[in-house]
Symmetry: C2
Subunit: 152 residues, 2 copies
Amino acid sequence: MTEPQSHSEHQIDAEQLRQIFAQHGLRTTRQRESVYRALCACGEHPTAEQLLALVHQIDPEVSQATVYNTLDTLVECGLANRIPSTVSGGACRYDADTGEHVHMVLKDGRILDVPLDLSQRLIDAVPTELLDELSQRLGVSCSGIKIELSGG
Amino acid sequence: MTEPQSHSEHQIDAEQLRQIFAQHGLRTTRQRESVYRALCACGEHPTAEQLLALVHQIDPEVSQATVYNTLDTLVECGLANRIPSTVSGGACRYDADTGEHVHMVLKDGRILDVPLDLSQRLIDAVPTELLDELSQRLGVSCSGIKIELSGG
DNA sequence: TTTGATGCAAAGACTTTGCATGCTT
DNA sequence: AAGCATGCAAAGTCTTTGCATCAAA
């Protein structure tokens, strides 16, 4: 029934990753590659702690601090998204799929991806003219829209 | 231009508040009333720390721990909403307006309310049939939808 | 009077940071 | 060789909790 989503079929190989890091003035390290690979391979949206466990399966010599630092790096490079926790003080989750898509937050805290076609249709359903009107009335420009579903 | 929103013209008086607490098996205390009043009076969406400062203006004898506890209580009673921070480890913000409305998160971390009429139109723009289709495909029922805009 | 609620401080969860060492460039 | 990145542990931020005291019902 609940088939796992994985539309982040990592289109980024080692060489492209190196280039992206370089474009941001960053070095390519074994740890950064491991963290990124583990995140891409993970069907779910892991917390930093869960991700460390996954990373250790392929590279035991990575510290938790480096996972945190690297996740910040990946987010800055546009290689990952940070998903804030919905509960007080809860851990953020991370997503290697930076394409615009919708999440569904389950009661147990897990987060499912909404299939790309449905995500697109949901986002497209929001009329641009509403956002324009809003920008005018609030006096600030609207630069993004995020839709989040809840379910269980 | 950027006129402050305040469509939470606290429709709840002291007596109604008491009743709501009672319905949840909770006592009405001076601290709970103060925290709720301060939250309603606050045009912005304060953090727990900011709210303590506001509460102290009308009732200096309230502790930070009680503000945290009371905010949990208010959320459970449906008297407030918790808005998770968008940054790692950031403080949650709270909103006395529990009606369905859209938030716009500014780059500086502040959160604006989208005027009720626009919020409604944004939410209504999402087609129900898409959510139905999604529920079927993911095998979970969709119980809520949240739209968040970003701007600055 | 009987609990539930508070205040304080300590503990807990999550994340960041300082510094010496190592590795990428 | 130069300097960024790592690992470790400590510190920092936000939130919850244990326990004695207080107050609502």
